[in-house]
């Protein structure tokens, strides 16, 4: 018997969405037929999503990738020598040497796509637990200091310094404290939380355990949106395995630390990504936003001191503890330190996950990594930071990816989602959608958001229909002002951002359709004359 060939086929749900399960089954079947002994490992995704399903074969040269592999093509690929890493038009070469991957700085995503997500042996062999061990070797206060010094800011949207939040929880005495991971990831154009949970769940568990040690918490929750059933399953299995391994429970790694973790599933409400609405939901209530103060760090889940952090914030912590704050802080620019996991989405040729130090320009991300649009048409607009983020026109892609530079440009980085649109996009329709989304997803607690969004939809409809455009544009501006100023949370408060940026950069899209058609035909007439 020959030693089996190891073949990786992702189990990430994006890969499954284009047939990865069928590819894995087909590989096993064809291998058996050919009398080849293979070991199929289901890894996470490397994040080169346009290549999914990306099959990798372990060879002496390294892991050779083939993609995108349709199930129908497996037979042909095996015949061409896939199990020996032979050349083929779908062969991408040694995966780790591909510029798209090699030029990234993967700290948070270091193991995603590399390992079997549910193998504790793989996890440890690839540097897992080093952060937790380092943390347990120092005092909780030193862990908080380390995270503060690293400059790590919340990756969920607001960019609040993680260390300062942790210090508040640590300094608030109570017999019961919680660590809650926000895995609601409702922003369109974002999927990094999902990919991390499906591709390297132990990293999140380790990050949460470090947070628990640092602040003195004994119980944790991962609040995952129901739209992510695969992530829910993977996290639950990972938690069970971690308990068996002694990585969770009453005596973590023999240190005496006690911490346990539970998965809770959302129920289809975008607002439950807002931290206080999430806490309400975790308490079994409607996801209504709470007025702040009190902040969750002081009075959070069930009124107890609570750390609420995004998946990527918590998953960045193990590397910070393992390699030291200085190494993390050395990456990035200005007040944006370390790496950010950007997600390229929408009408983009090469969509996926790009983890890199802050400071690269948006254009580099969209063009160098993304390869422009999938349709091949010119890029017209890019929305950064989810449905509450600004639309930027093609000539503003010189913006550096950094919190403050975006804020100065009237935009926000948010959770790092970058959605590309080609020149067929109707920006008035996108502005209308922003208002419609807010109307649909508002928790209903405050009037500017609940009523303003509905009025916003109506007003944009009137503008586009050519009804008193000037009056209605003024009204839309007033509405935006009111929502910005008078909303309790960023749902109502930031919905004007996509609306106003669309108005600012793409005013022509808002002129009446009839008027536009008249102008267009006049334009054609002019062209025909010249």
């Amino acid at each position: 018997m020959t030693t089996p060939v190891t073949v990786y086929v992702p189990r990430d749900s994006a890969a499954l969405s284009v047939g990865a399960d069928l590819v894995a089954a087909e590989l096993e079947r064809v291998a058996a037929q050919a009398g080849r002994s293979v070991r199929v490992v289901r890894n996470g995704s490397r994040g080169m999503l346009w290549l999914e399903p990306l099959v990798e074969v372990v060879t002496e040269r390294g892991r050779i990738g083939y993609g995108p592999v349709a199930p129908e093509r497996v037979g042909e690929l095996v015949a061409a020598g896939l199990f020996d890493g032979a050349d083929h038009e779908l062969c991408q070469g040694v995966v780790e040497e591909l510029p798209w991957l090699r030029n990234q700085t993967r700290l948070c995503f270091a193991r995603v796509g590399v390992i079997d997500p549910l193998s504790p042996e793989d996890y440890v062999a690839h540097g897992g637990l080093a952060g937790l061990r380092a943390a347990l070797a120092t005092s909780p206060a030193e862990v908080v200091a380390e995270v503060t010094e690293s400059g790590l800011r919340g990756r969920g949207g607001a960019g609040f310094p993680a260390g300062i939040k942790w210090k508040t929880v640590a300094d608030t005495p109570d017999t019961l404290k919680f660590v809650c991971c926000n895995a609601d990831e409702g922003d369109s154009g974002t999927f990094a939380d999902r990919m991390l949970m499906e591709g390297d769940p132990f990293t999140l568990i380790e990050g949460m355990t470090i947070a628990a040690y640092a602040v003195g918490a004994s119980e944790g929750y991962v609040y995952i949106r129901s739209e992510y059933p695969d992530a829910v399953r993977t996290m639950r299995r990972a938690i069970a395995i971690a308990r068996e391994q002694g990585w969770l429970g009453d005596d973590i790694l023999g240190s005496g630390l006690r911490f346990d973790l539970h998965v809770r599933v959302g129920a289809g409400a975008y607002i439950c990504g807002e931290e206080t609405a999430m806490l309400e939901s975790l308490e079994g209530k409607r996801g209504m936003v709470r007025a702040k103060p009190p902040i969750p760090a002081i009075s959070g889940l069930f009124g107890k001191p609570t750390v609420v952090n995004n998946v990527l914030t918590l998953a960045s912590v193990p590397a910070i503890l393992a390699d030291g704050a200085a190494a993390y802080q050395a990456l990035g620019v200005a007040r944006s330190r370390g790496t950010q996991v950007f997600q390229l989405a929408g009408n983009v040729a090469r969509g996926g996950v790009v983890e890199t130090a802050f400071g690269m320009t948006l254009g580099e991300l969209v063009h160098t990594y993304g390869g422009g649009t999938r349709s091949g048409r010119p890029v017209r607009a890019v929305q950064v930071g989810g449905p509450l983020g600004a639309y930027l026109p093609a000539d503003r892609l010189d913006l550096p990816l950094e919190y403050e530079a975006f804020a100065a440009a009237g935009a926000m980085l948010g959770h790092g989602g970058v959605v590309v649109f080609d020149d067929t996009v109707d920006m008035a329709a996108m502005a209308r959608f922003a208002m419609e989304f807010c109307a649909e997803e508002s928790c209903g607690k405050c009037t500017p958001c609940r009523v303003g969004a509905v009025r916003g939809v109506e007003t944009i409809d009137k503008i586009v229909a050519g009804q008193d455009p000037d009056g209605n544009l003024a009204l839309l501006n007033d509405l935006c002002e009111l929502m910005t100023e008078g909303s309790l949370c960023a749902m109502g408060g930031l919905t004007p951002m996509p609306v106003r940026s669309a108005l600012l950069h793409f005013p022509d899209d808002f002129t009446a359709r009839t008027e536009r058609r008249a102008e267009e035909s006049a334009g054609r007439f002019e062209e025909a004359k010249s």
């Binding site: 994006a14 974002t190 289809g268 209530k285």
Partner: protein, 175 residues
């Protein structure tokens, strides 16, 4: 008076509550379990839950109605959810949805008259680089086209023959 079926369901709901006795703020997990088992949250479940959890009926009702996931009546045998969020719109989600509405003869949020398919909108499935995305009975699909959607629907129809298409005598009464 409760029908025997209702009594069984109430007992089952009580058992599900009991299974979550130790959990903090257990209402959402319980509602998810009820919906998994029965396909929807019945109005009659509300007083049972209120009594078992020692909260008001209004509170339970408020939670059930706040979250879009919880249905007040059973869905079709196949549930299709198509993403309408920005990244999928950038690659033609609205056209795909128009096609689905037209070919199924229902609007978003509706079930076909034969009870075969419920068509719903969803805002992002975390598959934004491979849109347009959708879920068919919880399974994620990317790069959807009208043809792929048709194929998926045909496959799910074949896999899950309609319960009421076959009588106990085995004869097809509804085709």
């Amino acid at each position: 008076m409760e029908s025997p079926g209702a009594a069984t369901r109430a007992d089952r709901v009580r058992a599900l509550v009991a299974a979550h006795r130790g959990d903090r703020g257990a209402l959402l997990p319980i509602l998810h379990r009820i919906q998994e088992e029965f396909g929807y949250i019945d109005a009659d479940d509300v007083p049972v839950l209120a009594a078992e959890l020692n909260i008001s009926r209004a509170d339970v009702h408020g939670v059930v109605t706040f979250y879009t996931d919880f249905r007040s009546e059973p869905a079709g045998r196949t549930v299709v959810r198509l993403c309408r969020a920005e990244a999928c719109q950038a690659v033609g989600a609205e056209r795909l949805i128009a096609y689905a509405e037209q070919s199924l003869g229902v609007a978003l949020g509706q079930t076909t008259p034969d009870g075969a398919v419920t068509l719903e909108q969803v805002f992002c499935l975390g598959n934004c680089a491979l849109g347009p995305s959708g879920q068919v009975d919880g399974q994620l699909h990317g790069r959807l086209t009208p043809a792929r959607l048709d194929a998926l629907l045909a496959a799910s129809r074949a896999a899950a023959p309609a319960a009421y298409e076959v009588t106990t005598s085995g004869k097809t009464v509804n085709s």
